[in-house]
């Protein structure tokens, strides 16, 4: 109770938080707090009324960033399926901004199929995919995004797999806007989230985020500061990355905007089809017999 009062009087974005759910369950040093802050700032700067939002999340630490902490209609769903639930929500509420905020294991591991097809469909939802390279909530198991060679509870010797390049994959699946930033690049992140919210079509902002407790601690970066320094040192812009070999890019984080091109959006096309069908079958009121 006392902590909630403190946040309320000192934190500018407190009005966007669901007070009854505070304090957050996030670990000290978790990048999730930065993402929540960036999202709140983006909403604030765009002057979006939270009544116009529906936030959907899955299972995992990152799924908790906005649900239940962000004050809006929030749907906390099953592991990996947030995007599929969000698809139904968007079709039913086409005028609202539907945002999915969830983690890498959730959206790109078990939920990879839904991520790819939502991008292919180019449905107007904004996905903030928080990538902390690990399944954090369950104690630190290897994820499809864990760096090659890393130590996790299920790769106790070293990881023999290579991580999935999420932003690149989604870009080639047909999304309208795809960007990757890190929790170190907070201002670019806020601007990117603003763009993603405004783009009509499927938008993905992949945020590399620190999990010092489950990932960092096992990989020689046990403080959040060390992890953020790692992000800062290893981030390469897309333009620079173009001229680097795969070996040079190993272990690097490519940041920037991969795609920013609007095209035919799913719910619009669906509603257009309905109008066409009404015309074809003369179902309008004027044609009533």
């Amino acid at each position: 109770m006392c902590m909630a009062k403190q946040i309320y009087t000192k934190y500018k974005m407190a009005k966007y938080l669901r007070k009854e759910a505070l304090p957050t369950a996030l670990c000290p040093g978790c990048g999730g707090g930065t993402v929540l802050n960036a999202f709140a700032n983006a909403i604030d700067e765009l002057k979006i009324d939270p009544r116009e939002l529906v936030v959907v999340s899955g299972i995992g630490c990152s799924a908790w960033i906005a649900s239940p902490y962000f004050l809006a209609d929030t749907l906390h769903t099953t592991h990996g399926r947030a995007i599929a639930f969000a698809t139904g929500v968007k079709v039913g509420l086409p005028d609202k901004k539907v945002v999915v905020i969830s983690g890498d294991g959730d959206l790109a591991g078990i939920g990879g199929n839904h991520l790819i097809h939502a991008a292919r469909r180019n449905i107007d939802i904004t996905v903030i995919l928080v990538n902390n390279f690990i399944y954090g909530m369950t104690g630190g198991q290897v994820a499809p995004t864990t760096p090659f060679g890393a130590i996790t509870t299920t790769t106790p010797y070293r990881n023999i797999e290579h991580p999935l390049k999420i932003a690149e994959t989604v870009a080639s699946a047909g999304a309208s806007y795809v960007a990757r930033w890190t929790t170190f690049h907070v201002y670019q992140l806020i601007e990117s989230i603003k763009k993603a919210l405004n783009v009509k079509g499927f938008s993905l902002v992949e945020v590399i985020s620190q999990c010092p407790v489950q990932f960092g601690r096992r990989n020689r970066m046990k403080t959040p500061a060390e992890m953020l320094r790692w992000f800062s040192k290893n981030s390469i812009s897309i333009s620079k990355a173009k001229n680097m070999s795969p070996e040079e890019l190993e272990g690097k984080i490519v940041i920037g905007e991969f795609v920013n091109k609007e095209k035919a959006e799913f719910t619009e096309e669906l509603n257009k089809l309905i109008d066409e069908v009404a015309q074809y079958y003369s179902l309008g009121d004027e044609d009533a017999d």
Binding site: F85, I116, L273
Partner: protein, 405 residues
């Protein structure tokens, strides 16, 4: 968006597109038209034999009624989208068969725990696994009851003909909307792919129900609370500024997760079960034939109820006092009535197209009072009147010998 299905515009379209009269169609199509008349305006699905025709009919007809069809990448995504759409105010449905039904269990449990209205059609086919994909069966009776994990209630209903499929689909929607619980329509591949005559009614003659919405801001604060005393919370759907929080974790009346307080979990899970118990009379439905003086009682469901009735009628002509009860709502099971009838009868026969599932419910309620014998058939070909008739006559014969001792 809120679409009830009985708005003047919807009625006008239904009358224009499907004028009242006699039609000839498959069970699958009847289910789709039943959904449309019930007010379903969102369908998300994935193709699977023998349910694909439901998706095809919805894809063709929904746009005409300004409804939404979306084909998802798999069954899991389908039921997820249905839940999402239901929370925006749309009556939503998906249809599948055994393998797809298995995939949907997790999100079905999510819908039960979050009290999301929806209809899930399982056009049962021969299993296990891929089985006999094109052949009907009745092997999902208990999967419908217990397929998803945990202590959960469910409503499952099973039609016995093409025309019955139309009306039972409407009843499925009404139960689901009234009680804020997913309803499974246990159809089968035989009726699903058989064409029969069906009378499409005037839409104004069809009574449909829409979920309770909060009357004010105060009621909206308790999306999972017994606000009205009937154990059915009003549903503060998204998009109305209620800031509703919905989660599959154990939650308090206001929707927020609380997994640490045992009483919260106990209260929630028990209320979900009590909600069904208290309203059982409205949920229960069965049909009885020749049960007043029944000696050999048949209990059958879905497609097997048809040859069962044929066998009962034939044996009655031969002087055997056979009778039939057909549970239309199979879960919750009409145990009380069957137990009552078991006091009159000498034996119970349970014809079904599986190796014995509904029979376990019959045995549970009848206990050891009288013999309960299954008339089971698997392999994709329905039971025939002759097969059931033979069983009835054997039972009659055994009874005669016993009374002769």
């Amino acid at each position: 968006m809120i679409i009830r299905g009985d708005e003047p515009e919807q009625i006008r379209l239904l009358k224009k597109l499907y004028p009242k009269g006699n039609y000839f169609m498959q069970g699958d199509e009847a289910i789709a038209y039943g959904a449309l008349f019930a007010g379903c305006r969102f369908y998300a699905g994935y193709p699977i034999t023998p349910a694909s025709e439901i998706a095809e009919t919805m894809a063709r007809e929904l746009p005409k009624l300004r409804g939404y069809y979306i084909q998802m990448e798999d069954e899991i995504g389908s039921i997820a989208a249905v839940v999402g759409a239901s929370w925006t105010g749309l009556k939503s449905m998906t249809a599948t068969s055994g393998p797809g039904f298995s995939l949907m269990q997790e999100n079905l449990g999510y819908a039960v725990f979050t009290e999301t209205p929806l209809v899930l059609v399982d056009v049962q086919r021969s299993g296990p696994s891929t089985g006999q994909a094109t052949k009907g069966a009745q092997g999902d009776f208990f999967q419908a009851r217990w397929g998803t994990h945990g202590d959960h209630p469910i409503i499952a209903i099973s039609p016995t003909s093409v025309e019955d499929s139309f009306w039972e689909t409407i009843r499925a929607f009404n139960l689901s909307e009234k009680f804020r619980i997913p309803v499974i329509l246990l159809a089968d591949g035989i009726i699903g792919h058989t064409r029969e005559q069906i009378r499409i009614p005037d839409p104004e003659e069809v009574e449909i129900v829409y979920r309770k919405l909060p009357a004010n801001e105060e009621e909206a604060k308790y999306p999972f609370g017994d606000v009205h005393g009937d154990l059915i919370p009003p549903m503060p759907i998204f998009g109305n500024g209620y800031f509703t929080h919905v989660t599959g974790s154990t939650h308090k009346e206001n929707g927020l997760r609380d997994v640490y307080t045992p009483e919260v979990h106990d209260r929630l899970v028990r209320r979900l079960h009590k909600k069904m118990e208290v309203h059982e009379k409205e949920i229960q439905k069965w049909e009885e034939y020749y049960t007043d003086d029944v000696e050999i009682l048949l209990v059958s469901w879905g497609v097997s109820a048809r040859p069962s009735l044929g066998a009962v009628i034939e044996t009655r002509k031969r002087g055997i006092k056979a009778g039939l009860i057909v549970p239309k709502t199979v879960h919750p099971f009409p145990g009380k009535r069957i137990r009552e009838l078991s006091k009159k009868a000498h034996v119970i026969l349970v014809p079904e197209m599986n190796l014995g599932q509904m029979i376990l419910e019959v045995q549970r309620v009848v206990r050891k009072e009288i013999p309960v014998i299954g008339v089971n058939k698997i392999g994709g070909v329905p039971l025939t009147v002759e097969e059931i008739l033979k069983e009835i006559e054997s039972s009659a014969e055994r009874s005669r010998h016993r009374s002769a001792d």
